[in-house]
């Protein structure tokens, strides 16, 4: 039981991040519909954020906020989770929303011009 717990603490978030990244990449590579490709990019983004937060965590971590009962520094040693990757992820999520909105707008414009969302038919379509 102890060994299983240590294995899960070391690996479960990394396995989850890898699996989500792989599934998103599979969607992006195999689909022809532009909307499905953008959904795949969204899932890839979730996996990357999960990975970057997972490397900041250790099993005895506390959250990086000073409160009345939450001690971040005990005997000169920092016991909180690493705040730097968390702040990077915080900005990455917001930029992700902006790029997703821009990509969706371009997809809508492509549909208005060519009448289809299939990337194979867009190549062959007459102007």
């Amino acid at each position: 039981m102890q060994a299983l717990q240590i294995f899960l603490q070391n690996w479960i978030y990394l396995i989850g991040a890898m699996a989500i990244f792989g599934i998103g990449l599979y969607i992006t590579l195999t689909n022809e519909n532009i909307f499905k490709i953008i959904v795949g990019l969204d899932i890839i983004e979730s996996g990357t954020n999960l990975f970057m937060t997972a490397i900041a965590w250790h099993p005895k971590a506390v959250m990086p906020i000073y409160t009345a009962t939450n001690q971040l520094v005990v005997n000169g040693k920092v016991v909180s989770a690493d705040p730097l990757p968390q702040s990077l992820v915080l900005t990455a999520i917001v930029i992700g929303l902006g790029t997703t909105a821009l990509a969706l707008t371009i997809a809508v414009k492509i549909f208005e011009k060519y009448g289809t969302l299939d990337v194979r038919k867009i190549k062959e379509a007459k102007r």
Partner: protein
Amino acid sequence: MRNDTPALVKRITALSLITILLIGFFLAFKEMPKGSAVNVNQRVSRLYVMKNVETATKMMENGKFFAKGIKPLRTDVPYTPITFGKSKNLEDGAANVVTSIVVDYRGFDTLGEVTVLFLAATGVAMLLFGKEKKRKNKTEPSLIMYVGTRISFAIIFLFGIYIFVHGHLTPGGGFPGGAVIASGILGLFLGKNGYKPNHLGLKVFESLSGMAFVIIGLTGLFSVHSFLANFLPTGVIGDLYSAGFIGLIYIAIGMKVGAELSAVVNSMIVDVEEEWS
């Protein structure tokens, strides 16, 4: 690949590519410190948690910190313990360490990030530009929907303001606060057919808050020593009026993000006549 490649071949190629990539990831993760082996005391981030960056920088300038022996991970930086509600005049008075990194230590990155968001919103508005067509939905939303969204909008708006005003004390901050406000405006769109917010007002509001960010940064440049330097007193840690200019900047960011995302939702939800493409 060519257009007429069979779907099966495509899938098998994608699967093998992903397998190779995942094996590479796995080999990289095996060497990495993870789980109980992660030690924040061996990373630079401990300086942010201890609020001790200036001392370390001074030691680096004196040639003591990053000396020629290259020991960036030494632990003997002098440190005064921080107590919630008692410690005064710290280097950075925010109780939330993530906020102090995002706004204070790495504020210039946040300025660039807000600029990227502004560019994305401008791109959406530019691509969907045109004369507004009358929306003709088959069904009008019911009276309960109309009244309910209007009442809940006030509550949601207040909650968004609460989130970004308390950004330096509790989890949250300008970005989720702005997103919450934009969700409230999305609710108003669902409540009434042909609801029109003041688009010009949103743009002006957003530009003014963006300018406020830059002006606060320039004030730091002229009054202290560098762009986006903290020029207000950092009070007792844990008070509402503490942490210097972090509260002001998060209010500016919250209003800017809220107006920007509302403008994106407005541009996407309104049908326009085809003018150019």
